[in-house]
Amino acid sequence: MSTEQSKPGFVTIERASYRYEATGPAVVDAIDWTIPRGEVHCLLGRSGCGKTTLLKLAAGLLMPTAGMIRIGGEALAGPSPRAGFVFQAPTLLDWLSALDNVLLPISLKRRPTIADKDAALDLLERVGLADFVMRRPAELSGGQQSRVAVARALVGNPDLLLLDEPFAALDALTRKELQDDLLRLCALNGTTALFVTHDIGEAVYLADTVAMMAAGRVTQVRRIELTRPRHRDMRYAPSFITACRALRDAMDGAATASRRPAA
């Protein structure tokens, strides 16, 4: 459980806490966490356990009320330009084509060049949308919209990708396809990723390390010993099922609050 300590952290969260009100309860309660460069970590937990808040802290969308977050050694003081964020809903702009949506992070900073356009087209092709680049979001399915959102988060080659249950609203088959797409894209540039989910199978399939959260704390950390690249057959491997089982037990244990925090 301490394997991640042996590598230098790319994202380091140091005793970060967050409260919405000064005297209110801590939504995120003194969490220490380290993500080495190039790894995929999943935050797993029930609704309301603070995982989305922790993700927003890592993004710089919220500032911790105590503690600190560093990305690549730099303390975070606001929304990080090195991070791409994928929201629960695709949050595409309805009046832009898929291509212009992917180019949005660039076009907000400068006029996109031919090279930017090629990069965006390349990303759209990699998520299987080569034939849909001029379509508007209303003309795309939910899965296709999520793919555009992932491509948009990756267009500036961010070092860090933060994802907040991005596939939760999709059907099981589409979700699994998108998980494969995501892993391929992350592996391509060695992107570090923090992925929030409440789906145990999703967490085990995607992650190098899964952190279980309950009541604002990390209650359990599990290293996933599956080889990369991941393949859909692995979902039926005994080690996969064992990992899911262990996390499930931990989740139930955390719900009854009968376990001491193991992190």
Partner: protein, 249 residues
């Protein structure tokens, strides 16, 4: 065309009924002129060219009032949406200014601005201001919070967020406000002329009333309605153009 046929037939039936009632019912032409007499008057107004200066005046007042009211309403709506403190400070006054019956301000405006176009344009602008301001404020307020968060994450500035996210997202609501404003602009222009105009369709109605020419009054109704429908359709066209560019699908 086929879809419009029933409503056209209804119009014809109503006109025929109206004509028959006037001819057979022995109703005084002073009370209700027959459609043929109204159309005759309308035609002579057009043919002699008497109508055009009045039409031009009312159309100009309407367009100026609508333009000024819409631009100011949009601007104030954006300001109040962007600066909640300003909104808290000014909202009661803006509301109060709208609850004053603006037509009642007509006599005062004549003292301030004299007879002629200006008081009517000011009244029209005041009337058109409110739907634009209210709808801009509502439209911008309803922009999805997660999209705002996206723009924050992407490091967009305040002006960028306004121009690239909030205004395009609010556009359908803003355009609906503009459509309401067009209808109100016509009321503002015509009734404004009742109070202080010498030229214009509203002023012509008062002139026709003074000589008891109800046929001319009806003819002017037709012109006013046509003007209103023309401008409304023009705004619809603009809306479709704009929304096609800035909306779903």
């Amino acid at each position: 065309m086929i879809a419009r046929l029933p409503s056209l037939l209804l119009l014809v039936a109503l006109l025929v009924g109206w004509e028959a009632w006037c001819r057979l019912g022995g109703l005084s032409a002073l009370i209700l002129p027959a459609p043929t007499s109204v159309l005759g008057t309308l035609w002579s107004e057009i043919a002699t060219g008497r109508l055009w200066p009045h039409l031009a005046m009312t159309a100009t007042e309407m367009l100026l009032g609508l333009g000024i009211g819409a631009v100011v309403g949009l601007g104030v709506g954006v300001l109040l949406a962007e600066f909640p403190a300003l909104s808290r400070l000014l909202r009661p006054y803006v509301l109060a200014s709208q609850l004053v019956p603006k037509l009642a301000l007509g006599p005062l405006f004549i003292i301030w601005f004299g007879f002629g176009m200006t008081p009517t344009v000011v009244i029209t602008a005041l009337i058109c201001f409110f739907p634009l301001m209210e709808n801009t404020l509502t439209g911008i307020g309803e922009v999805d919070p997660s999209r705002r968060e996206l723009f924050r994450m992407l490091g967009a500035g305040r002006l960028q967020t306004l121009l690239r996210l909030k205004l395009p997202a609010a556009l359908p609501v803003i355009m609906a406000g503009l459509r309401v404003a067009v209808v109100l602009a016509l009321v503002g222009a015509v009734v404004g002329e009742f109070i202080g105009g010498r030229i214009g369709l509203g002023a012509s109605i008062i002139a026709a009333q003074s000589v008891m020419d109800s046929s001319l009054i009806f003819a002017l109704f037709i012109v006013i309605t046509a003007l209103g429908m023309l401008l409304y359709e023009a705004v619809r066209l603009l809306e479709r153009r704009v929304l096609h560019r800035f909306s779903k699908g």
